[in-house]
Amino acid sequence: MEKKTNRWGWAFLILASAMIMLFSFYPMFSALMTSFKTGSSANMKYADPIWKNFLRMFKDRMFMTTLKNTFLYLIIQVPIMLVLAMLLAQLLNNQHLKFRGLFRTCIFLPCAISLVSYSLIFRSLFATQGLINSVLMGLGFIEENINWLGTTSTARGVIIFALVWRWTGYNMVFYLAGLQNLDYQVYEAAQIDGANGWHTFWHITVPQLRPVIIMTSIMSINGTLQLFDESVNLTAGGPASTTMTMSHYIYNTAFGTGTANFGYASAMSFLVLVMVAILAFINLKVGDRRD
C-alpha cells in the first residue's frame, strides 16, 4: 500500500518538476545564453569577448540613469508605503471600530485595479489640463497649470504617489493578517499600563510583526526593482528619461523603437536578478534575530 502511494507521489512530483523545468528553468538558461550573444535576433552570435554585454552595462549612461531612478523610487516609496500600511493595519485592527470591513475593503480596493488602467487614469488626472490642476486652480492654490508630468521632480513625485496609492492596501492586508494572530489582550494590558497608541505601535505591534515586515519588504523591493507599468504608461519615461525604470529600459532595448538588442536586454535582466537576490539576502540577515 505504502509503495503504491509513493509511486503516485513520485508521478505527481515528476510532472510538476518537468513543467517547472520546461517553462521556468529552461527559459532562464536560454536567456543566460542569449545574454552572451549580440547581433540581430535572427542571426545571433556569441559576443567577442563573451562578457561584452555585461561590460557594456557599466559604460551605458542611460542604464545608469534608469538604475538611479529605480533606486530613488525604492528608497523613498518602500518605507513610506510600509509604515503607512502598518499604521492603517493598526487602526483597522481596533475591535471597537465601526464599519471595519468597509474601511478595509476601501483601502484594499486599489489593488484590484489593473496596473495599466490605473496608470492611465493617473496620467489623465495629472495632465496639464487635467483634473488635479483644475481643482487646485479652482481652490486658488495655484495661478497657472502645473506641468506635473513634464517636470522631473513632480513626475517622480506622481509616480511615487501612484505607487503608494496602489500598493499600501496590499501590504496592509498582510499586516492585518499578522495582527490577527497576536493576542489582543496584550494591547489591553498595555492600555491599562498607560501606554498610548504610539507606544503600543512601536513597542508591541512592530516587534511582533517582524516576520511579516521582512516578507513585505522583500516583496516590495522585488516589485520596485522590476517596476515597469507606471514608467511606461504614466510618464513614458519622460521628461528626458528621468523617470524611466530599469525594466522599462530593458523592454525598450528588446522591443522598443526597433533596436531588438535581445542579448544586451537579457544581460541587463540578469543584473536586476542579482540585485534582487542581494537585497533580499541582506534583508533576511538584518531581520533574522535567531541565533
Binding site: 496639464t128 508630468l149 513634464g150 521628461p239 531588438a260
Partner: protein, 426 residues
C-alpha cells in the same frame, strides 16, 4: 486518479487544437492576406485596392488582418524572424517608412523584393522611395504620402494683422516674432508637438535639406540643428510652442482642445484638425518656415506595403500591388477611394491629378488641399536615413527638455550624440 489523467489528456488535446487553428492561413490560389493598422486610414485604402483589382481578377480575395498599431506589426515581424518560423506572417504587410530600413537589414529573409513587378518608379516621389529601396532594389509599394504641412488658423492670424501669405516662406526668427505677437494678443500658441518622441527637429532639418546623420553617423554638432533646437526652446519659453507630454495630450488637449493657431506635422494630422467643426473654414495649409527664409518641405510618418518572406504567391502579390498602389491601371480608382474613404493621399504623381484631388474643402476655406499636398510632396528633399531614426528623436527630445531646464545647447547636443553613438556601438 484515472479521472485526473483523463482531464490532463483532454486539456492537452484542447491546447494542441488551439495551437493548430492559430497558424492556419488559407492557401487559396487567388487569396492574399495583408496585415495593417488604422481602421480609418490604411484599411479603407486596402479595401479600395482590393475592389479595384477584383475588376480584372474577379476571384481575387484580400483578407485584412487588422493590428492596433504599427508597433504590433513590427513585433509580429520581429517574432517571426527571430524564431526562424515565418509561417505566422501574412503575404503582405504594411510597414512604417522610418522603421523598415532596420528591419530589412536585420531580417533579410523576412522580405521579398518588388523586382519584376510592373511599376514605373519614376511616377513616385523620390523621397518616398528612398525609404523602401535598398542598394537600388525596390521592396515597398508606397501607400500614403507623409508630406508635412503647416496649418494655420486664418481668423487668429487676422486678429494680429497677418494673412497666410505672411507666414509662408518666412524665416524661423520671423516666425518666432509672429508667435510672440499671436500669444500676446490672442492667448493662442502657434504650434504644439508631442514632446515624447518629438517630430519637430527631424521635419525642420529635412526642410533645410539636412539629416541628423552623415555617412551613417549622428551629426548633432551641425550648426543648423543647433539653430533649430534654439528656435524650439525659444518658442517653448515664449509660450508659442506647446510641448505636450504625450500623444493624447498633443492631439486631444492642444489641437482638439483648441489651444493652438497652428499645426505642423505629416498630413495625416488633418483628420485630427478637422474634428473641431466649430473651426470649419478657418484653417489654411501652407509650407514650413526655414532658417534662412524660403518655403520648406518635409515628410513625416508614411508607410508602404511589403511582400513578406512567407508569401507563397509572390507573383500574384506583385501583380496586385503594381496594378493598384503601384500606379497601374487600377491606381486612380484605388487612390481616389482611399482618399475619399480614408483621407490617404498618394505619392503617385499621375494618380494625384485626378478630379477627386482637385476638389476644394470648405473646412480649409475652399482650398484644394490634396492637390496642394501632392505638389508639396514632389519638393521634399531626399535626406540620409538611418536605422536609429527613433533613437535619434528620443535623445534630441531629451536634449531639448534639458536645455529648457537650463542646460547649455552645445553640451546637451554633444551628450545626446554620445548616448546615440553608444547605442549604435560606434
Amino acid at each position: 486518479m484515472k479521472k485526473i489523467f483523463a482531464m490532463l489528456l483532454v486539456l492537452t488535446m484542447v491546447f494542441s487544437l488551439m495551437a493548430m487553428s492559430g497558424s492556419a492561413y488559407a492557401d487559396d490560389a487567388n487569396k492574399l492576406t495583408v496585415m495593417a493598422w488604422d481602421a480609418n486610414f490604411n484599411i479603407p485604402a486596402l479595401e479600395a485596392a482590393a475592389a479595384a483589382y477584383q475588376k480584372v481578377n474577379p476571384d481575387f480575395e484580400l483578407e485584412i488582418i487588422q493590428q492596433p498599431g504599427s508597433t504590433e506589426v513590427e513585433q509580429a515581424v520581429t517574432l517571426a524572424a527571430s524564431s526562424g518560423d515565418l509561417s505566422t506572417l501574412p503575404d503582405i504587410t504594411l510597414f512604417q517608412d522610418h522603421a523598415i530600413q532596420k528591419f530589412v537589414r536585420d531580417y533579410p529573409d523576412a522580405w521579398n523584393t518588388l523586382e519584376g513587378a510592373d511599376i514605373n518608379w519614376d511616377d513616385f516621389g523620390a523621397e518616398k522611395l528612398s525609404y523602401s529601396t535598398f542598394d537600388g532594389v525596390h521592396y515597398g509599394a508606397p501607400v500614403d504620402n507623409g508630406t508635412a504641412i503647416f496649418a494655420y488658423r486664418t481668423d487668429i492670424l487676422e486678429q494680429c494683422g497677418y494673412t497666410v501669405e505672411d507666414v509662408t516662406g518666412i524665416t524661423w526668427d520671423r516666425w518666432l516674432e509672429i508667435g510672440r505677437e499671436v500669444k500676446e494678443k490672442t492667448g493662442f500658441a502657434l504650434l504644439s508637438m508631442d514632446h515624447n518622441g518629438n517630430d519637430l527637429p527631424y521635419m525642420m532639418m529635412q526642410a533645410e535639406g539636412l539629416s541628423q546623420f552623415v555617412d551613417g553617423k549622428p551629426d548633432f554638432a551641425n550648426e543648423s540643428l543647433k539653430k533649430i533646437i534654439e528656435v524650439i526652446v525659444q518658442g517653448a519659453q515664449d509660450g508659442s510652442i506647446i510641448l505636450a507630454n504625450n500623444w493624447s495630450e498633443y492631439t486631444d488637449s492642444t489641437i482638439v482642445g483648441d489651444q493652438v493657431a497652428g499645426v505642423m506635422n505629416g498630413n495625416w494630422i488633418i483628420p485630427t484638425i478637422s474634428l473641431v467643426e466649430a473651426n470649419s473654414g478657418k484653417w489654411a495649409l501652407t509650407t514650413l518656415p526655414t532658417i534662412n527664409g524660403g518655403e520648406g518641405y518635409a515628410a513625416n510618418g508614411g508607410s508602404s506595403l511589403y511582400i513578406t518572406g512567407n508569401c507563397q504567391k509572390v507573383d500574384l502579390a506583385r501583380e496586385f500591388l503594381a496594378y493598384t498602389f503601384g500606379g497601374g491601371e487600377g491606381a486612380i480608382e484605388t487612390y481616389d477611394n482611399a482618399l475619399l474613404n480614408g483621407g490617404v493621399i498618394t505619392t503617385c504623381i499621375s494618380a494625384g491629378s485626378s478630379d477627386v484631388y482637385m476638389e476644394g474643402f470648405d473646412f480649409f476655406g475652399g482650398q484644394a488641399i490634396y492637390a496642394d499636398i501632392v505638389a508639396m510632396g514632389a519638393n521634399v528633399p531626399v535626406i540620409e536615413q538611418n536605422d536609429f531614426h527613433y533613437q535619434a528623436r528620443t535623445y534630441i527630445g531629451n536634449a531639448i527638455t534639458n536645455i529648457i531646464n537650463g542646460g547649455e545647447v552645445e553640451a546637451e547636443l554633444q551628450y545626446a550624440q554620445e548616448l546615440l553613438e553608444f547605442e549604435m556601438d560606434i
